[in-house]
Amino acid sequence: MKSNTARSRAYKIFSIIVLIILAILFLFPLYWIITGAFKPAQDIYNPEPVWLPTEWVTKNFDNLFNKRSAPLYSIFGLSGPTAPAAFRWLINTVFMSVTAMILTCATAAMAGYALAKKRFMGRAILFSLIVCAMALPKQVILIPLLKEMSALKLYDSLWAVIFPTVGWPFGVFLMKQFSESIPGEILEATRIDGASEAKTFITVVLPMVKPGIGALAIFTFINAWNDYFMQLVMLPSGENYTMPLGIASLQAETSIDMGLLMAGAALASVPIIIVFLIFQKYFTQGITMGAVKG
């Protein structure tokens, strides 16, 4: 018994050490982005590792901001003042991710409820279609989608990225799993009280699936933010670039000016990381909620 506890203590210490090493490894890329963004060229091209910038410079950011410019925003043909393109990219990315998130949550909550609680015809077929399409990579439908967007005159606009994201059925699946747990008796009771379908949905269903919507919101937001592929195909103009696309284009153009790339990567990741750290609790709660029911 005694040796057993000794062994388990040893295991505990061992696992803590491994965890700390792993944590350092996981933090390292971020550390490397941030320090890299402030390193002068000599440090960056030094074949020996330079752990901290020998001198903290902002030249990489200057280069990033001076390289390309774009109007800060353009809505209905109105353009904002010309600014470094990186800011426009950030605005585009936020707009795209938030819009995709809202649309997805709204449509998926309704559809998930219907799939779970409404016994309408074709429900089973629809649901299996959704399950099968869930893991489908967008590359599969790349060409038809491109032609469709072109026909809809949406090519080269952020909507061309937003709509397929909303169409991706994972959200419906998730919300369906959530809505399953709504007790039928409550719905029945509301119906007997004479509430309309819409009222039932808004006053009864929505509050009950709120955690699920939270989980889905996070999931969609991060996915949209990271969806490099659709952006690459659908957004050719510099002023419609998103942050990932912008950094990728910098890499393609400047080859391996790592300082500039790190500055771009820092600009792309630090805002969202800060948001994440502030709402960390809700993030983890949301994600967890998604799975407990899923």
Partner: protein
């Protein structure tokens, strides 16, 4: 409930419109291939929802798009803005510029073509504009822009390269150069390898190259030169290196067949493979190699030209210097007698046929403005290469002295006589260059050289046969 209903109705409407638009799109599809001015619905101006496009102004389109690859400073926003502003001031036609990279620029253009949203103007070389997009009927024939005076002024070889076998001219050439290689002079000095190069003529022999690499490797103990093959970017460098070492060829003189299974090329590849200081590096493309050279990691670059010499790695840190301040010397590629054949680079403008005559006319105006007027000087200077014509605007603008007061450009004219055959317009070019870098990767990973070369050349020749 009301809100939901309205929302649902709205979405249903969107859906209906979508479907209708889909149908419309299909019917319009054949339009772009025939330069028929009838279909007023231009599939390409989704970016500019201007209600009055073509007919409003007599001059034609009020905005055209230009997509440019990073050709000298044509990839630099401030420079290009200066140029296009001058054009806009004179013609009233606005130019929307997008900057492409060699890494994914082709994909972008192809995507845009698929989406019926190709740019009006594109700036690149004949291997893309003529051999690919031109040959596939995507480009506008520019013959009407080139009269007899222009023909007499333009470099005949450059114009020939811009002319498709059908006789159509799909690119108006602006600048040209000979691609070369470069060495890090300080590193050569340290390794005692300066004795192998002739700094005056910028030439060396294959044996001198081999000795220099050996000396550098002995000194640094690491890769000093990379046969880069991550992709097609900068492949003219690896082709020139392999072909020149023992006098192999890439295509036949008639440009009908790929001949790079030449035993002399195999010999060169085997030689390169056996050299310790040379690595076949599948993680680098041409642009990366330049950056590595600029950073000092590599001591020689095979993807070099005068624009690089003037502004290494486009980093604006001083001409002829690496990031650490080492001197860069441009060199011809090594060959057995030192008399190499350099790869030509030709760049100019092409027009995509978007089926809108007004925009095509505006784009032609742009080409005239920068290729055949007093502004040609600015276009050439921005590109950092040599003009493809002796004079412009019917002889009124002399272009022979564009670089007269630039010592680096003058020094570089020493290499221009070595300019070799421009074979990049051979049929099946895109397949051939893909086969080339794939072959280099295969050689790099240890495949049998002769077999890899034979397989690659066979693939290229299948494409050449049509």
């Amino acid at each position: 409930m009301k809100l939901k209903k309205v929302l649902a109705l709205l979405l249903a409407m969107v859906m209906t419109i979508a479907l209708v638009a889909c149908g419309g799109g299909n019917q319009n599809d054949p339009a772009p291939s025939t330069p028929d001015p009838a279909p007023a619905a231009t599939p390409d101006d989704n970016k500019t929802p201007d209600p009055e496009p073509a007919p409003a102004e007599p001059a034609g389109a009020s905005e055209i798009t230009l997509w440019t690859y990073p050709i000298g400073k044509w990839g630099d926003e401030a420079t290009v803005k200066g140029l296009t502003d001058a054009f806009t001031a004179e013609t009233g036609i606005a130019v929307k510029v997008e900057y492409l990279a060699y890494a994914d620029g082709d994909d972008k253009v192809n995507t845009a073509i698929t989406a019926n949203a190709a740019p009006d103007l594109i700036m690149e070389g004949p291997e893309r504009l003529v051999a690919n997009w031109g040959a596939n009927g995507k480009m506008v024939d520019l013959s009407d822009l080139i009269d007899d005076t222009d023909r007499s002024e333009l470099n005949a070889a450059a114009l020939a390269s811009c002319t498709h076998t059908s006789g159509a001219i799909y690119e108006y050439p602006v600048v040209m150069t000979a691609h070369c290689m470069a060495i890090n002079r300080n590193a050569f000095e340290e390794a005692g390898a300066l004795q192998y190069i002739n700094e005056d003529t910028h030439t060396w022999t294959t044996q001198q190259f081999i000795d220099a690499v050996a000396a550098l490797y002995a000194h640094y103990g690491d890769t000093v030169g990379a046969v880069y093959c991550a992709g097609q970017g900068g492949d003219q460098g690896t082709r020139a290196l392999v072909n020149n070492m023992y006098g192999g060829t890439f295509t036949n003189a008639e440009h009908t067949q790929y001949t790079w299974d030449d035993p002399l090329n195999i010999k060169a590849l085997e030689q390169l493979k056996s050299m310790d200081g040379i690595a076949f590096d599948a993680s680098l493309a041409g642009g990366d190699e330049i950056a590595k050279f600029y950073q000092g990691a590599l001591k020689m670059a095979f993807c070099w030209n005068i624009a690089q010499q003037v502004n290494p790695n486009q980093a604006d840190t001083g001409a002829e210097k690496t990031v650490t301040g080492d001197d860069i010397v441009f060199m011809s590629f090594p060959s057995e007698d030192g008399n190499s054949k350099l790869q030509g680079g030709i760049w100019g403008f092409g027009i995509f046929d978007n089926g809108d005559q007004a925009r095509i006319d505006a784009a032609k105006e742009f080409i005239k403005f920068f290729c055949d007027s007093e502004h040609t000087v600015d276009a050439v200077k921005a590109a950092n290469y040599f003009a493809t014509r002796s004079s412009a605007a019917d002889g009124s603008v002399d272009l022979s002295g564009v670089w007269a007061d630039d010592p680096i450009m003058n020094e570089y004219t020493k290499l221009m006589p070595y300019l070799g055959d421009y074979y990049q317009i051979t049929t099946g070019w895109a397949a051939a260059r893909t086969a080339w870098w794939n072959m280099l990767q295969a050689v790099g990973t240890g495949d049998d050289v002769a077999a890899a070369v034979a397989a690659g050349a066979a693939e290229a020749n299948t494409a050449a046969a049509g």
